[in-house]
Symmetry: C2
Subunit: 211 residues, 2 copies
């Protein structure tokens, strides 16, 4: 089995519990690392540079783009957000799976650039439950909830682009499922290229030798 | 989770141990069934109609083709071989995974017709081991071994068409792996269409209701 880690993109509806899922996965298995994004947004109280985000200014961010230092980036509410390449590649080389928690547009860009990346979509057991979770937070206005539902409806159109869809009903079960999917995905030909190449070359040599 | 079984195609190099693997899988897990092929080949000693094969004559076979009763068929050494649709569909509806052990051309036809089928390629740990297994049988002439190696070399060109590649080194481990892959594949969007459709429709209704 190739030892390189897998680049995992986790997306899903707001209210699907992606953040909790990712934290639980990293806590349970030690060969996962969460990618730390670079942003031009100002740090909020308690946020540490290099932990929650790598903080920089617009000039620094655009310089990183020019140097090809980001594997994807986007603008959101007037700020840049991006995934630094260095950190991701170092982790993958060290055999760790790297998790990016991004939305579908970013996910599709990642898949295009890295066909061997693994795209996982997280959903609650059903739309009713999703609505219930959004409402029961109790912190959002009806307007915000309506917007989130509209957004979820839009997002649901893109599910087929993902490799797997997982239902986050029970957290422990879901963590196990995601881990199993990552392990299973190691057996996809796109992630076994070195092995396939080697067996092909050897078979070719044998077939030639036996002629 | 949708209860329908999964149509699994197992292919792999001669000497990869596909037959043993499939038997062990069916013995260990009870929700797998091996598809029984229809053939115009004469029964060999001990072969029972409906167990090893469904035996028929050319007329009967061609009539089954005309009626659309086969999901794939091919001619090989002057005989027809095909997969009866009825049996496969009944097993899938009953929630059993159905295994077809066929070569790559058949596998590709199945995938085209049934995008939700799962294609698994079985290989020994490497080409050296494959050669060793072919030679150590001791029953085949050098010429036959040379042909098999040439054939394996050709087959290796098609591996990317498969969903997963599994290494059959230790039989028990390999059985577990295949079972895990089948379970994982239930989470691919192509096999969760009913769930996706339902969540989409509900979200659309909620979003509309909240406008």
């Amino acid at each position: 089995m190739e030892k390189k880690g897998i680049l995992i993109v986790i997306s899903g509806f707001s209210g699907a519990g992606k953040g909790t899922l990712v934290k639980a996965l990293i806590k349970k298995y030690h060969n996962y690392a969460l990618s730390v994004s670079m942003t031009t947004r100002k740090p909020r109280e308690g946020e540490r540079d290099g932990v929650e985000y790598f903080f920089t200014d617009t000039e620094g961010f655009e310089e990183t783009i020019r140097q090809g230092g980001l594997i994807e980036y986007a603008q959101y509410c007037g700020n840049y957000y991006g995934t630094p390449k260095d950190y991701v590649e170092r982790q993958l080389q060290a055999g760790n799976n790297v998790i990016l928690e991004i939305e579908i547009q970013g996910a599709l860009k990642i898949k295009e650039k890295f066909p061997e990346s693994l795209l996982i979509f997280v959903t609650p057991p059903g739309a009713e439950e999703l609505k219930r979770r959004l409402v029961s937070r109790g912190t959002e206005s009806e307007e915000v909830i309506a917007k989130r539902l509209a957004r979820a409806s839009e997002e649901s159109e893109g599910i087929e682009a993902y490799d797997y869809i997982v239902v986050n009903d029970d957290l422990g079960t879901c963590v196990e499922e995601v881990h199993q999917l990552v392990e299973a995905s190691r057996r996809a030909p796109v992630r076994r290229e070195a092995f396939i190449e080697e067996i092909r070359n050897q078979l070719k040599a044998f077939a030639k030798g036996a002629e």
